[in-house]
Symmetry: C2
Subunit: 342 residues, 2 copies
């Protein structure tokens, strides 16, 4: 379904790009992980329905961000927000979190304390209890400081049943806030690029913003937070799983000036950069204005905008109308751009 | 409550022993993790009740075992059994698993495939679907090959409501199988000690064996699988959380001859060595014979035995009657003995 299909060739060894959320990740999942584990049928969603419990959803993510602390957050708050948001993208409010720590021997206790305090604060602010966990320590050099895995259970409320496979032709594509902040903040901090004074991660919980859409729940067909692989990967996943085309306006996509500047210098496409505090929504055209009003009623949705629309064909295709009036393909990123961003 | 209390002194840096399941782990949890995360009140159990869903339990564990493959199992099967068993220790049958992978760049694809196939096979054999997951890749040297985090949701059935805090004075202490196999198999393989020809891990799912106890569910007060820290840690946790004393007979504890030999040469106490395929049960004296009959009716419980009893006082004390008729304290292991055993 992609424009330039490249046949999958299994590499002998796992590459960094296999974890970057782009095409290599999708190929690893399709070729290796899902056949072995017997994954669920249908599209890969941000969270999965718990068998026998139609209102409960489960989501899990490992967080390996480097560095542990960055402007706008740290691995602790990120590990809460990331999982809360994956649940929210299925219309669920968080019920409980479980957390595991893999700690490298020698990690300063003060750093661990700061991360745990941040994790606890973020969970309290999101209104979700941490009910169980596990701690492992590995020798020096066997891990890089600290990895956190957070698993969440969420409860689907009201009429919200969004799915990556449910976008309809004619839907309007909304974006809840500006893009590119998380990825550029982490990258700049890690590499000492100097942008980190102007850019802070957008890491934040999005479940309140999703709940604000409940009054028009039946019109909210798809929600997706553009984390690894950015807006480009999220839109390509929606187009693939819903078998639709998506067209967006470059002029409408909010890229903060410092992000645009950083991306230009680094040779990055802002559409490929990870976010941790905004989401894409495909909403019935008739409900689009109501949805924008609801989103803008909360601080985290104040900058919500309409960026494009869903079309019937060609299925799987994402196109951007550029500032100069041309149209260019928005491809699924291959995957090597920004390792350890979340 | 311990015999020789040592005041907690926070170290500047995290030590390997903080992850070994003994006293250092307990101190790290009490001093740092639980205050920050606002952990659940009451004792630390193998799995936690999901708020608002009194029959659902959640458990999470990160698996960092080294090497990835060992006699009797590998990190894939272990990552299923460990989580299934933590749910089983609360009387629950597994409903769903979630799995995350943290992969070191350069891991041979064939090794990843073998581990995933083993994970999938173990899940199918345990009758539990893998419903969601996540894959991260970190650079060379930022992890040691592969870590897996498995989170499970379980459903509590029938009359089984065991808790680490529910052991009663007068209870009989049962052990479902021989001890020391997992820890010595992994250690011997890792260090090339040569015992690995005679010893294989006991890694296996225990939920069928727990279900066999359902007919006498009300009499099953406590179940605990003696993983990190071994039987010594598990009994000390039961004695601490139930505020009872436990006394066991050395002659009754089944230590296979190759395990005993390996422990003697390595200077290990078999009671401190991790297991992944047996559990301790505290059961009403009146139901003890029925429990043993039920356990022995399944292959994984064929060697179930009575090893001791629960007493009223002194609370928190675990004592062993030795082969020569003496009585010695069974202390909580400090924690430095066997890193990366699970």
């Amino acid at each position: 379904m992609t424009a330039c299909p490249v046949p999958y060739e299994e590499t002998d060894r796992i590459l960094l790009g296999h974890g970057a959320g782009g095409r290599l990740t999708a190929e690893l999942l399709d070729a290796l992980v899902l056949p072995a584990l017997g994954g669920p049928e249908g599209p890969l969603e941000d969270a999965a329905l718990l068998p026998g419990h139609p209102d409960l959803l489960m989501s899990t993510d490992s967080f390996v961000v480097s560095p542990l602390f960055f402007p706008g957050g740290d691995i602790g708050s990120l590990a809460v927000h990331g999982t809360v948001n994956d649940l929210a993208m299925r219309g669920a409010q968080p019920v409980a979190l479980a957390a595991t720590l893999i700690i490298e021997e020698g990690l300063p206790t003060a750093e661990l304390r700061a991360v745990l305090d941040s994790f606890g604060k973020a969970a309290r602010e999101a209104g979700v209890p941490v009910i169980t966990g596990d701690t492992k320590v590995v020798g020096r050099g066997a891990a890089d400081k600290l990895f956190i895995t957070t698993t969440g259970i969420g409860h689907r409320t009201g009429g919200l049943h969004p799915s990556a496979a449910a976008a309809h032709p004619g839907d309007v594509v909304l974006l809840s806030g500006p893009i590119g902040l998380h990825g550029t903040a982490v990258l700049s901090t890690r590499e000492g690029l100097g942008f980190e004074g102007d850019i802070a991660s957008d890491s934040r919980p999005l479940h309140h913003l999703v709940r604000a859409l409940a009054p028009i729940g039946a019109h909210v067909h798809t929600l997706r937070d553009p984390t690894r692989g950015g807006v480009a990967a999220a839109l390509n996943e929606i187009a693939r799983d819903s078998r639709v085309a998506v067209e967006i306006d470059e002029a409408a996509v909010p890229v903060p000036a410092p992000v645009a500047g950083a991306c230009e210098i680094l040779g990055l496409d802002p559409l490929h950069v990870a976010n941790e505090g905004c989401f894409l929504a495909c909403v019935s055209a008739t409900a689009a204005e109501s949805a924008l009003t609801e989103l803008r009623s909360l601080p985290e949705g104040a900058a919500a905008v309409r960026i494009g629309e869903v079309q019937a064909a060609p299925a799987g295709r994402v196109v951007m109308r550029t500032l100069v009036g041309a149209r260019r393909m928005v491809d699924m990123p291959l995957g090597e751009q920004l390792p350890r961003i979340c």
